[in-house]
């Protein structure tokens, strides 16, 4: 039985307009949900810690992974050519896409060549970045996402809100409603076991009837021409092993030099992501199955530009574990959709401005710069430093909002003059004391979700001047 999906519609939240702050405001209207979201992600962060602390060599592993990635970035053209040659020798057909458009066209052509109008797809953040599903829908091709979380957001007509946990923002009751609407479950059924069983049945039918399967890639090995795909559900394998054509899409930064380096990365990836010692399946695709066609699409889409930005090239070391999101106090309380880009959270906020500075100028500001992201990153990306550096670039290039620029100028002038600073301090204290309504209102962003504190009677400077003589 075929089910209708809403996937043809544009995702309402992605590209709907609105800055991170505005979209976070929407998310923050439901305080209970924000608290639940916050606690759920923190719980995953705690699981990561527990798992990581079992390995005394953890920090040495991070250092090794970071250095392998530095080596990759500094030899990327060589490794890409090496990978291509090895993959071709293995019987894999290699394609190169300069940008999202070319990537989508290549995939579309492969589907046309295979004479199909339906495809099953496992998780690939790259295809989200390229908006592949939307593109194919306009060409009459139906894509079914097979990762349970991705299937759920697809039914909801939304993009994933987290790269590892695509529907982390959804309550089970909402998922129950979606399944009732699209998969024919009884109403008010929200038991996760029951809902998962329903999706299993529906997607098994999909796996058995699709001729083309698309997967993402976690790691590609230059030396051997093989690529590795990690899942817990087994959906990438179910798709690829049952299909006549397997298309794997990867960003060019996913290359690692040798097979033995997987030992380092596979130990880090899932422990960082969910606290598991490894994903259930770590599949190594080296050659097509007998009678099968295997394609790999190598995608640049701005990566070679990011590689040339000295301050930001380290973002290409990312292995997409999502640890920086789970730990981020801003992500946890604003939700993935507030980032209005395929990869949310701290890492997404340093990747996105590379693609479009104007559109994503708000994202590097969606951070407290607390540095927790950099501390948990398994490949030691200096995420919070890069967020700070992006702010400087964006201000210099004139992409920051006018109000913020004016406010910053006023602040700089005030802090630069001791007379103005003391006068402003006094004014602030008097205002809070005698006219609290002037600050406890919507015009003051600091008032959102909190009351202004009681004002002290005097500044420290005044207190010190009075008391030093005693």
């Amino acid at each position: 039985m075929e089910t209708t999906t809403t996937q043809d519609k544009n995702p309402p939240l992605q590209g709907a307009g609105g800055s991170h702050a505005e979209l976070a405001d929407i998310f923050n209207k439901d305080e209970d949900r924000v608290n639940w979201h916050d606690e759920t992600l923190w719980w995953i962060r705690a699981k990561r810690d527990k798992s990581v602390h079992q390995l005394p060599e953890w920090e040495a592993l991070r250092e090794a992974a970071s250095n392998i990635k530095f080596n990759v970035l500094s030899h990327l053209d060589i490794y890409l050519a090496q990978f291509e040659a090895a993959a071709k020798a293995n019987g894999i057909i290699v394609h190169w896409a300069a940008d999202a458009k070319e990537h989508n066209e290549i995939v579309h052509k492969l589907l046309t060549d295979a004479k199909v109008t339906q495809m099953v797809k496992s998780k690939s953040m790259l295809t989200e970045e390229c908006h592949l599903n939307d593109y194919l829908a306009t060409h009459g091709i139906e894509v079914i996402d097979s990762d349970l979380g991705e299937r759920i957001v697809q039914l909801a007509g939304e993009p994933p809100s987290h790269i590892v946990l695509p529907c982390i923002h959804k309550k089970k009751e909402e998922i129950g409603d979606l399944f009732h609407m699209y998969l024919g479950t009884p109403s008010n059924m929200s038991d996760p076991q029951f809902l998962t069983e329903t999706a299993r049945g529906s997607l098994r039918e999909t796996f058995l009837t699709r001729k083309v399967a698309l997967t993402g890639v976690n790691f590609a090995i230059a030396e051997t021409g093989e690529f590795v795909v990690c899942t817990n559900e087994g959906n990438a394998d179910m798709g690829a092993h049952l299909a006549d054509v397997h298309i794997a899409c990867m960003g060019i930064e996913k290359i690692i030099p040798k097979r033995e380096h997987l030992g380092v990365f596979l130990r880090l990836l899932t422990r960082s992501a969910t606290g598991q010692p490894i994903t259930t399946y770590s599949s190594h695709f080296k050659k097509p199955r007998e009678g099968q066609e295997m394609h790999i699409v190598l995608v640049d889409n701005g990566r070679s530009i990011q590689l040339g930005r000295e301050d930001f090239r380290n973002s290409l070391k990312c292995i997409r574990c999502g640890a920086c999101m789970n730990t981020c106090p801003v992500y946890r309380r604003s939700g993935g959709h507030s980032y209005h880009t395929a990869v949310a959270g701290p890492i997404g906020s340093i990747l996105a401005p590379n693609l479009d500075m104007k559109k994503y100028a708000d994202l590097p500001f969606a951070s407290t710069l607390c540095g927790s992201c950099s501390n948990v990153c398994p490949v030691k990306i200096d995420i919070h430093d890069q967020l700070y550096k992006w702010r400087q670039v964006l201000v210099k290039e004139g992409y920051t909002p006018k109000a913020k620029t004016v406010a910053m100028h006023v602040m700089a002038t005030t802090l630069g003059s001791s007379t103005l600073y003391h006068a402003a301090g006094k004014m602030g204290r008097l205002t809070i004391k005698y006219a609290p309504f002037a600050v406890n209102n919507k015009l003051n962003p600091w008032y959102k979700n909190r009351d202004m504190p009681e004002s002290p009677k005097e500044s420290f400077g005044e207190w010190y001047a009075k008391n030093r003589k005693k």
């Binding site: 719980w43 995953i44 040495a60 090794a64 250095n67 392998i68 530095f70 080596n71 030899h75 990327l76 053209d77 890409l80 050519a81 291509e84 190169w96 896409a97 300069a98 349970l148 979380g149 759920i152 695509p166 309550k171 089970k172 996760p192 076991q193 809902l195 998962t196 069983e197 299993r200 098994r204 817990n232 559900e233 087994g234 394998d237 179910m238 092993h241 049952l242 060019i252 380096h261 997987l262 030992g263 380092v264 130990r267 598991q276 010692p277 490894i278 994903t279 259930t280 399946y281 770590s282 599949s283 190594h284 080296k286 050659k287 199955r289 007998e290 009678g291 640049d300 070679s304 040339g308």
Partner: protein, 198 residues
Amino acid sequence: MSSRDKILAAVAASKPEAKPLPDIEPFKHIGYTDVLAQYETVLTTIGGAVHRVNNWDEIRTIVSEKYNSQNVRVLSLVPELDDVATSAYEINPSAHQLADVELSIIKAHFGVAENGSVWVTEELLGHRAVPFICQHLAAVISASSIVDTMHRAYMRIGEAEYGWGAFIAGPSKTADIEQSLVLGAHGPRSMTVFILND
């Protein structure tokens, strides 16, 4: 200029100065005092089942107690266990005929103590879909084959030639709905590893 050449040229122009590969040799010497116990603990924690057995007969007994091959389809890729299976695997390029398999029994090359996984390659499986499409999966490894860490695992794999291979660690699972763990997302609902003493 093709996209390939354009991308390679852009990368070559943007890449930073050469950095060396780190020495990962020290990681290869990390080990556990009791590799078997570690393996059993981890696999159990991630939702798998473990049986340490002394001979094939013990495996036959455990399998046939749980699966009546007259009523459900039990597929064996292990010649020693063909008699508890409905049928031995017959070469068939289409995996769709495997859709009704209840239990697949396979051999694995070795286990990895740090994460409870087994390493398989397609020669052991008949078809790549065999360990995924079944409702339940059982794998046999020898006790002496268990390595400590993933570093040792790749030392053992070395330059081995294969078309497809995988580490499989426990049953298929998901926690996508409110982080509630559910076993049996798309693949097997359970995974049993028989550790054969040798």
